[in-house]
Symmetry: C2
Subunit: 239 residues, 2 copies
C-alpha cells in the first residue's frame, strides 16, 4: 500500500517579503518522513483570503493531508481559521470548548480575555481541536486540513499533538554515500543504478569545497534490504 500523501500551506506576508525565514516547513518535512507520510508539495501564500482558501481547497482535494502554518493569532491579519472554514463551507464562530481553554489560561495569568484574544477561539463547526501546550490557543483539524500556528515553538508542539492521530505508512529510510568526483562523472553510472533499482529513489547533491568537486549520493526507500543492496552497488561503482 502506498504511503499517505501530504501538502503544506505556509501563510504569511512576512515569509514572502523575506523578513522572516520559515522554519516550519523543514521541521514538518522531517517529521512526516519519519512517520511514513509523503510530503508532495508546499505552497507559501500571503495574508489574503482568496489565496488561502483557494490553495486549501486544491491541496485538500489532491492530498490525504494538508498542514497549515500561520495566521491563527489575535490580530487583524490572522484570517486562516475563517479561510479554512470557507474552503469547506463550514460555519465558524467562537466555540465554547476553545473559549473555555482561553478563559482559564488568561484568568490564571491575570490578563484579560478581550475581543482580540477571543478571535483565537473561532473554530469551525465539526473541527477537532489541536492541543497547544505552549500558549493554549488551539489549532484544529477540519476534514483533512490541520491548522497550526506559525510561531515555531507552537507549531512544533501542535505537530506533536496531531501526528500521532494520523495513520502513517512505512517510514522513508535513506542512506548517503559521499563521492569525491565531479557530478558530471558520477551522473552516467548513477543513472544506470537508478534504473536497476527503480523501486528506490536516487538523488545527487553536489558540493564544491576548497577546489574539490564531489556529491552526496542519497538513496531513499522503505525496504531496508533493497536499500542495503543499492548502497553496496553504489560503493562498488564509485570505489
Amino acid at each position: 500500500m502506498p504511503n499517505p500523501t501530504a501538502a503544506m500551506l505556509v501563510i504569511g506576508d512576512e515569509i514572502l517579503s523575506g523578513r522572516t525565514r520559515d522554519a516550519n516547513m523543514h521541521y514538518l518535512a522531517g517529521q512526516l518522513t519519519e512517520r511514513g507520510i509523503d510530503l508532495k508539495e508546499v505552497r507559501i501564500v500571503g495574508d489574503e483570503a482568496a489565496e488561502i482558501t483557494g490553495a486549501a481547497k486544491v491541496l485538500s482535494e489532491r492530498y490525504d493531508h494538508v498542514f497549515t502554518s500561520g495566521g491563527i493569532g489575535p490580530t487583524h491579519d490572522d484570517i486562516t481559521a475563517d479561510c479554512i472554514a470557507a474552503a469547506f463551507d463550514a460555519p465558524i464562530d467562537v466555540r465554547d470548548d476553545a473559549r473555555a481553554l482561553l478563559a482559564d489560561f488568561y484568568e490564571k495569568s491575570g490578563r484579560e480575555l478581550n475581543a482580540a484574544r477571543l478571535r483565537m477561539a473561532r473554530i469551525p463547526d465539526g473541527a477537532a481541536l489541536i492541543d497547544n501546550p505552549v500558549s493554549v490557543a488551539p489549532g484544529f483539524s477540519l476534514q483533512n486540513v490541520h491548522v497550526m500556528a506559525g510561531v515555531p515553538s507552537v507549531f512544533k508542539a501542535m505537530v506533536a499533538s496531531v501526528l500521532p492521530t494520523l495513520t502513517g505508512g512505512a517510514p522513508l529510510l535513506s542512506e548517503t554515500l559521499r563521492v569525491v568526483k565531479g557530478e558530471g562523472d558520477i551522473a552516467g553510472p548513477l543513472g544506470v543504478l537508478a534504473e536497476q533499482f527503480d523501486d528506490l529513489s536516487f538523488g545527487s547533491y553536489p558540493f564544491q569545497q576548497d577546489g574539490i568537486y564531489g556529491a552526496n549520493l542519497v538513496v531513499r526507500g522503505t525496504d531496508e534490504t533493497r536499500l542495503n543492496a543499492a548502497m553496496d552497488a553504489l560503493r562498488e561503482t564509485f570505489a
Copy 2:
C-alpha cells in the same frame, strides 16, 4: 503603477523529504523586495515532470515573473530545463552557445565534457542564457520564467545576473516597533491603525522570551512619508 509580481518554484525531492533546508527562497524574497518586485507565492515540488511543468504553467500565467531553483545539473533527476521547455511547447536540445561555455570550462579544468555534463547545455529555443560565474553551466530565461540552479552559491550568482535585467517597482520599505505587551492587548488598537493607513500593510509577529510576551509590529509600504506617519502613530498608541 503597481509593482510587478513574482512567484518562485523550488524543485527537489531533498527539500520535501526534509534532508535539505531550502535557503534560496528566503534569499530571493529579500532581493525581490529590495527591487520592488512583489513575491506573491512560492511552490515547492519534487523531481516529477508533470508537477514541475504544471506549476510552471500556472505560475507563469498568474504572475509577471517566475523564478525556479533546482534540477539543472547533470544527473538523471535534473529535469527542470526539459519541463520548462514543455510548459511553453518550446523545442529543446544541446545548444551551441551553452556547449561552447562548458567546453571551454572543462578543457581548462582538464575534465571531460561527457554526455552527462552536456545535459547542462540543453537550453530551449528562444531562451536567453543566465550567466553563472561560479560553475559556468548557465541558467536561462524562457518568456517570463527564469531557471536557476539549486546550489545556493550558484543560485545567488544567477539572481545577481538576472535581476538587473528586470524592471522593478518602488522598493518595499519596512519599519519595526518592538512592543512589550501581549499580542491580544495589541490587536485591537493595531487593527484600528491598519484601517486608518490602508495603503500600508501592518503585521504583528509575537514573541515570548523569559516569560515576557511581546510582538514586533512591522509596517510595510512604498511611500516613506506615509510610513513615517504610521510609525509615529504606532509609537504614540503603544508608548
